[in-house]
């Protein structure tokens, strides 16, 4: 699974060069990466914009409704995505992912922004791999969601961006 993920990173590197233009040169540090994994949103249905330490923001806006995935085993998982934003300068640092199982157990991952150092990326891959060992098909289901998000974002890009492009229109 790890090799597939890294292949994805390489394939999309060109797109990523443009993606980081709005981040103002600031990238997610390892310390912030570890900290972001501890950020908890009490109720993803209501808490769409939450500040932490008056320095970081988790912002669900733009990600649409939560994802629900039911596998062949009939177990329903829920995935919520939040942008991790540095309050000072409104810099997007990454994406925090809440993966909630059918029993209510929540796994948290933090996908770094493109400019994050390789060590942070490696740690992310190691972390989601570790979760995958505990929670079967975690990475696979996460990849469904991120693929869908990528598809939507590409669609928006193709349509010229802006808030008027609905998710429904792209699917």
């Amino acid at each position: 699974m790890k090799s597939i993920l890294f292949a994805g990173v390489l394939l999309l590197a060109g797109l990523g060069v443009r993606a980081q233009d709005s981040t103002g040169g600031r990238a997610l540090t390892m310390e912030e990466y570890e900290k972001a994994k501890t950020f908890s949103v009490a109720d993803p249905d209501k808490d769409t914009y939450v500040k932490f330490e008056n320095a970081y923001i988790l912002d669900h806006n733009g990600f649409g409704k939560p994802y629900f995935i039911t596998g062949d085993d009939g177990k329903k998982k829920r995935i919520d995505l939040y942008k991790l934003i540095l309050k000072d300068g409104r810099v997007e640092l990454g994406t925090v992912i809440y993966y909630t199982t059918e029993t209510g157990k929540r796994y948290t991952a933090c996908m770094p922004g493109y400019k994050a150092p390789p060590a942070v990326w490696r740690k992310y891959f190691e972390d989601i791999h570790a979760i995958d060992k505990e929670e079967q098909f975690f990475v696979l289901k996460l990849s469904y969601v991120l693929s869908e998000e990528l598809g939507y974002q590409l669609y928006r890009s193709g349509m010229g961006g802006g808030g008027a492009v609905s998710r429904e229109a792209g699917t």
Binding site: G8, G16, S22, Y49, K51, Y67, K83, A164
Partner: protein, 393 residues
């Protein structure tokens, strides 16, 4: 309901790349984290964002702070409430006589003739009447931008061109540029002073001189809805110019400092011929209830009440300024009961997040910037704003 994904559907779509998203997100939606470079032209909202009506209809219940409509929560006065109660038993009667009583009272205070005053249920019907009365094919209405959009938007709806003149760098009406924008097709120049949504006031001498010149060519409509919040309303109002025959319409309302927004009463002061013209397009006086008229008569120029409401407004505004400064925000210094300040995120998202926290405010988009306009409320409302604002600032 959320997005429900069937595994097979996704697999058919191919890519299974858990590391892909960060390469797309910022590129495709730069406005999310960097509102100052938002492509505003692409947004579905006008420069005014949602209107008060839309906000009110979509508001959460209960609302902790109603700060989106520039109302005065300290009103109406006790005298007004008492007058309403006392008038109820005779409210089966048409209010013919009390209309004259109120207009005479206003005329006496403003030192104009009663025939110069035209009452209506708020200034809205009079703004509409002006838009209709002055319309002619190919005409235009000149306003500041942003400014109160009621009259020009109505004029635009019936076919007039709306000529918008950007504000000065101090967010004041640019009178020089507005004068230059007037052409042969201009039928009205609309001046909102103090201006809404910026809460700024133009230099008085300059405005008088502007009206002197411009009114010789075209009717100038001066909306003084917020003038009662100024230190010297009598020294600022252009009503005296009506006495010298100027082709101006000065609009006033009880909806602001008098706290009558829900009671509905306002008026214009202008030439009798202009009133004749406007009266063809509005029921005006007969749309005012007898209770409201008596309340207005009872509380007109009630300095004790007005000064008290002003004092409380100033205290709440001062508190707001402190909150904004503490959170690192700028604001446009306000001469009214509302404050405009630039925000650091998308305006719609900002007002939505505030509303989720029980606080209703409005947003604007202009000068490539998102703005919040917050009305000044009771101190408990300002504290509710502060609490919500700290969560998302």
């Amino acid at each position: 309901m959320g997005n429900t994904i069937s595994r097979r559907t996704l697999l058919r779509r191919g890519a299974v790349l858990a590391g892909a998203l960060p390469f797309a997100g910022s590129l495709l939606n730069p406005a999310q984290a960097a509102p100052s470079v938002t492509g505003h032209a692409a947004t579905p909202f006008s420069s005014e964002g949602w209107t008060e009506r839309e906000i009110a209809l979509n508001a959460v219940e209960p609302l902790k702070a109603r700060l989106f409509a520039n109302e005065n929560p300290f009103g109406p006065s006790d005298k007004a409430k008492e007058a309403i109660m006392n008038t109820l038993p005779v409210s089966y009667q048409y209010p013919m006589r009390s209309m004259g009583d109120l207009s005479q009272k206003i005329a006496d205070f403003e030192k104009v003739k009663q025939e110069n005053i035209f009452l209506a249920s708020g200034s809205s019907p009079l703004l509409m009447a002006a838009a209709l009365a002055y319309y002619k094919p190919g005409c235009n209405v000149v306003t500041g931008d942003p400014s109160y959009a009621d009259l020009p938007s109505k004029a635009q709806r019936i076919g007039a061109k709306w000529v918008k003149v950007p504000l000065t760098t101090e967010y004041k009406l640019d009178l020089d540029a507005m004068e230059k924008a007037i052409d042969d097709n201009t039928v009205l120049v609309y001046i909102c002073n103090p201006n809404n949504p910026t809460a700024t006031v133009v230099d008085n001498a300059k405005l008088k001189s502007f009206c002197d010149r411009v009114s010789k060519k075209v009717t100038v409509f001066i909306d003084e809805a917020y003038i009662d919040y100024l230190d010297d309303p009598q020294g600022t109002t252009l009503i005296p110019m009506v006495n010298t025959g100027s082709n101006i319409i000065v609009a006033r309302t009880f909806s602001k400092l008098y706290g009558f927004a829900g009671l509905r009463i306002g008026y214009v002061v202008t030439q009798p011929e202009t009133i004749k013209k406007l009266s063809l397009y509005t029921e005006a006086s007969m749309s005012i209830s007898t209770t409201t008229l008596q309340a207005a008569i009872a509380s007109y120029q009630d300095r004790e009440f007005l000064d008290g409401a002003l004092k409380k407004t100033i205290a709440s505004k001062s508190y707001l300024y402190d909150v904004l400064k503490k959170e690192g925000y700028m604001y446009v210094p306000s001469s009214t009961n509302f404050v405009l300040f630039p925000i650091k995120m998308d305006g719609k998202q900002f007002t939505d997040e505030m509303m989720k926290r029980g606080v209703g405010v409005r947003f604007w988009k202009f000068n490539n910037q998102d703005w919040c306009r917050i009305s000044i409320g009771r101190m408990d409302e300002m504290e509710a704003f502060a609490s919500a604002f700290k969560e998302i600032s």
